[in-house]
Amino acid sequence: MRRYSAFAIAREAARYHQGWERAWASPEPKKSYDAIIVGAGGHGLATAFYLGKNFGITNVAVIEKGWLGGGNTGRNTTIIRSNYLQDASAAIYEKARGLYETMSQDLNYNVMFSPRGVIMLAQTHHEVRGYQRTAHANALQGVKTEFISPARVKEIVPIINLDGPRYPVLGGLWQARGGTARHDAVAWGYARACSDMGMDIIQKTEVTGVRKENGAVVGVETSRGFIGTKKLGIVVAGHSGVLADMAGFRLPIESVALQALVSEPIKPCMDCVVMANTVHGYMSQSDKGEMVIGGGADGYNNYTQRGSFHHIEETVRALVETFPMISRLKQLRQWGGIVDMTGDRSPILSKTPVEGVFINCGWGTGGFKAIPGSGWGFAELMARGYSPLTAEFGLNRFKEGRFIDESVAAGVAH
């Protein structure tokens, strides 16, 4: 792989950029692999990356039915934070956040991780207490957060309206090293690095079946034929239920549409991420200048990648109330992704009833921030059968009632 740098750009400029090589190869699938990952989203690609990097397993294929990064990884609002309440969550999200800090250098691909800070507003006394609880939990988890006053909130976000007549801002939970990153770049950077390690990223190829012998996996049926493997990682977000069905087990997952929107671009006016969970909306400003806005998920299951307008309306209304100046901005674009929701709003990273089949799903509305940590832990689980990062996220927790409930702390969990 030829390294990217300012120097390389200068060199290429001299020849009309005709010398750049492919970021990732487009190989024909082999007959079999040591490990197969289904789904070339962020989580699938990060898993492959760490299988190679941490465990030297490089005879790996990542099979993607569409184009890599085209699922939720390429549709999310890119909020990165680790100020979670429960220990197991804080551990994996903080691991991920730490890996984001050096991801551009690790991948030699600028993913534009921008630790500009994340504020979660407290707008009821109940929410104040909830975030104070999170701050205390974070203090013991090694996650740096702070409950800040309304005055400090205003200092960080001058465009905010603190004194809304209905839900005045009473403070906020502030994580200074939270922020955003460029979502596509995360997928592309991993894909390039995986391809460089000799892994095959096979796009436009749908997995249509899981072949088993004696209760153990032997390979997958795909739209391009059978491909053998003894280790299969299913990392397909909204379609997890479909893949689990192919493998012959059931998942406690519901798939619903989550939407987001952006405004037309304007000059910089907000340099952090603000989440207002009481009123259901959050906003940040992208490097292009668009205000990136998201809110709640639809209340019914579907696979259409379209959502209902009233969620957009609810979200915009909440944000016009929180940031009155956006009333005179225009909505440029809206879109939706199908998110995989578990009952406790925490992911599943687990062995399954089928030997050799592992599942990584349930990231729901908030898994972008987890990508490197999830890849790290899931690769360890696949390679060694155990990872302290994923230990609590097993499937059996639903049978035992050992939930990791994050909705405890916040209504919306992006």
């Binding site: 740098s5 009309y16 950029h17 005709q18 750049w20 090589e21 492919r22 487009s26 184009w67 220990d87 804080a90 551990a91 551009s104 250098q105 534009m112 991780f113 921008s114 630790p115 006394h125 207490r129 909830g130 104070q132 609880r133 701050a135 205390h136 013991l140 988890q141 090694g142 309206n161 809304g164 007549p165 839900y167 922020g179 460029r182 596509d184 592309w188 950077g189 037309e264 671009p265 304007i266 910089p268 006016c269 490097d287 292009k288 200048g289 259409t304 307008f309 309306e313 209304r317 016009v320 109330e321 100046m325 009333s327 005179r328 901005l329 909505q331 674009r333 809206q334 009632g401 409930d405």
Partner: protein
Amino acid sequence: MSTRLSSGGRLIDRSAARDFTFNGKRLTGYAGDTLASALLANGQTLMGRSFKYHRPRGVVASGAEEPNALMGIGKGSRFEPNQRATTTELFDGLEAESQNHWPSLEFDVGAVNNSLAMFFPAGFYYKTFMFPRPAWKHLFEPIVRHSAGLGKAPKDRDADRYEHFYAFVDVMIVGGGIAGLQAALTAGASGARVLLVEQTAHWGGRAPVDGVEIDGQPADEWIKSALQTLEGMDNVRVRSRTMASGVYDHGYVLAYERLTDHAPEMDGPRHRLWRIRAKQVITATGALERPLSFAGNDIPGVMLASAVRDYVVNWGVSPGDRTVVVTNNDDAYRTALALHGAGLAVPAIVDARATVTGDLPEAARAAGIRVLTGTGIASVKGKKAVTGVTLCAQAGEGAVTDEIACEAVAMSGGWSPVVHLWSHCGGKLTWDADQACFRPDHDRAPTSHDGKPFVTAAGAADGVLGSADALASGSNAAVAVAEALGLSATASAPSANDPAETPMEAVWIMPQGAGPAKRMKMWLDYQNDVKVSDVRLAAQEGYESVEHTKRYTTLGMATDQGKLSNINGLATLASALNDEIPNVGTTTFRPPYTPISMGAIAGEARGDVFQPLRRTPMHAWHEEQGAYMEPVGHWRRPYCYPKAGETHEQAVHREVLATRNSLGLLDASTLGKIIVKGPDAGRFMDMLYTNMMSTLKPGKCRYGLMCNENGFLMDDGVVARIDEDTFLVHTTSGGAEHTHGHMEDWLQCEWWDWKVHTVNVTEQYAQVAVVGPNARKLLEKLGTDMDLSAEALPFMGFATGKIGGFNTRVFRISFSGELSFEIAVPASQGRAFWDALHEAGAEWNATAYGTEALHIMRAEKGFIMIGDETDGTVIPQDLGLGWAISKKKEDYLGKRAQERSHMTDPTRWKLVGLETVDGSVIPDGSYAVASGTNANGQGNTQGRITSTYHSPTLGKGIAMGLVLNGPDRMGEVIEFNKVDGTTVPAKIVNPVFYDPDGEKQNV
């Protein structure tokens, strides 16, 4: 230079001058101008700067597709960035400023990006800015953000109003061109309820500009009479300045009406969002002209041929004295003829096709215009304005054959149907190789709830470009739609003149064999600065999917949403991949069609009416007393009633002590009240609650716990059995709607055959808690026909009767540990009752108390509070509430879940009381630390605080919490963490701090 022609302009009124300013310069236009036409009329061709390279930008289009001429308009609380000059109607006093430049539009420092453009190809930022690590956030990113971003951020709260509007129609027709009008005439005649919307202020679309004649008359005449006919139909509504922005599932359509943008002095809302349920939708949204990709096609003065025609015909504006027309189709000849007709020079029509013989080219030739076939533009000359073009053979690599001086270039690469609305809800497209465009695939239309198609395309939007065909297409669409609605309509369409045309030929790059240096100067996306070379680079680097290309290059992601660039970009990608355009496919079309204001989306819901406000009958009293209110669901409840000079804390303490020592009054009207009635009510209540409710005697109350199916405690409250078939369920204030929904969920989805009916009567009753040692005295003073003595109305009993003349239901329940009566009266009498209690209670210093005093008193008594002691992960067993779980019942919601291994795990944290050693208050949310760290290096814990207060009654800090083996560790001191890393020691005690034997409440 562009200028106003001495005559002509079908839309302007030369007798009505309009003054406006542009970048502070005073200019004049006419009523009927757009800001863009007025600027051109004043010779202002430079209108903005592009996003990435800050290249000079002039207007390229004349409508919603405009990517360049974006302005900041208005000032102060009416300032709005990024408004398209082409869709902004001119009015007196309009103030506009151009964007994205510093220090000025003419001289922009950011344009250095342009000279460095060779270092900034698509995706360059992914490849650099990585070292040193902190530099991205602190150095590079701020630079990138500042140079991007287009318009300025508004600073103030919006001074305008917005509203929502609802409509239900049989047929919604989008687009007021001739196809849309004809569709409306046909559909209207069928009797269907029709709504016809047009995004501009004018009807008729392109036909009048294109010289179309309908039924032998100029198109304008037919349009006028069509509109008159439609306005005369009761079943038809027409709306101009209204854009359909999105089509959603099941015929839900959004439209965006701009009411006062063109006349800000008018009263009323600025924008109106129409929320329409349409049984059928006809999209007659026309087509958009495509630019051509030749070197320098972004220099101000290069415009779409149709736009040039619009400026001449509609607004009497010349784009420049000499305009070169460049095309691959016959339509652009209309522009040449229009220019010629206005007395302007057309030095040449450059046509990429080898032979052209259509009526229009012949007419051009006849007019003496030079037609150069098989020819392309090698490059456009000029920097901030076009000064000329060089020509070459289209088939070659660009060797210059000729050079022509000119001020404008009118280009046409063919037409793309506007398929956005067709596509929003799943309509598929098919590639039309003859016209080189995607058009709606009639066999794969969007389908509604019944699986049947509900969107039909008509006219140019369906790829039908000729005017006679477009009229017929409008009528046919309406007939088909009427049939689908079970109505009958007759196809009929007037005749129209259509010249014989030479077929267009797809031209995606000019000249055919242009090399890399030329491709770096061919713009696809003018606003985002995406060039042919960028798309090819994306393909070369493996970003082959159209979505990858779009994201890697930002093609089509500008504020025009790729209206001009998408198809050209796809074609470029296809050619780079050696593939066919239809195989490459399109990106997804998503609402809105053109950007709509956030204000319109939010509607009227802002400020005080941001959300519905629920008021108890006593709400006004609380406000009169200056209560400090807190939101509880949609209610606002008094947190406390501070007197002059009192802090909130002091007020709360006063309220607690007054209640404990004498008499307190709480407005408890927000308490949820749900009637559960029917022969199966008892059975249903047994399933809802962990307790046995079916055995409750009429006239009695019982405290009950409600769990969800995962076993977690979700609500608690007192249930009163009114009679054999009727229960009155009290829920928490915040939980009433949720609980009612929960009941209905089970009744409707699982136990639909049970004879039970539920009604939420929360707002039908006002409720007051009369609390304290003097509570009974107060009620007796008011006079009652009930016996309120401890014997006749014991704790957990209730009675119905009169108090002080009010009809009441009196519950002997207590959440404070004091003698307490909760009294319900009809809501209409709530305020009078409340006043009567205060008046009569004056002798005992009756004190209104708020939610905080309520919380403290319940914590002093060790009563749990839903939302404090519970958080969705706590089961009743954790809270020592095992006594409220019936052992006799076979089942209740949550029972099975509570038997799971983790739920019965003896190491679950259990409820205890906690007291600091020094009487201080433990911080809210604190965790009890344990020694060591876990496998992930996090500090171990052994419990947490759930409620913590300073108790005014006891004069010290008290807390409740969940602690590992807590109830077995009474007296032990454990450490609670603070956010600063230190800890507070606290002793584990019984959670009932006050009156553990209940002597005060059972009197």
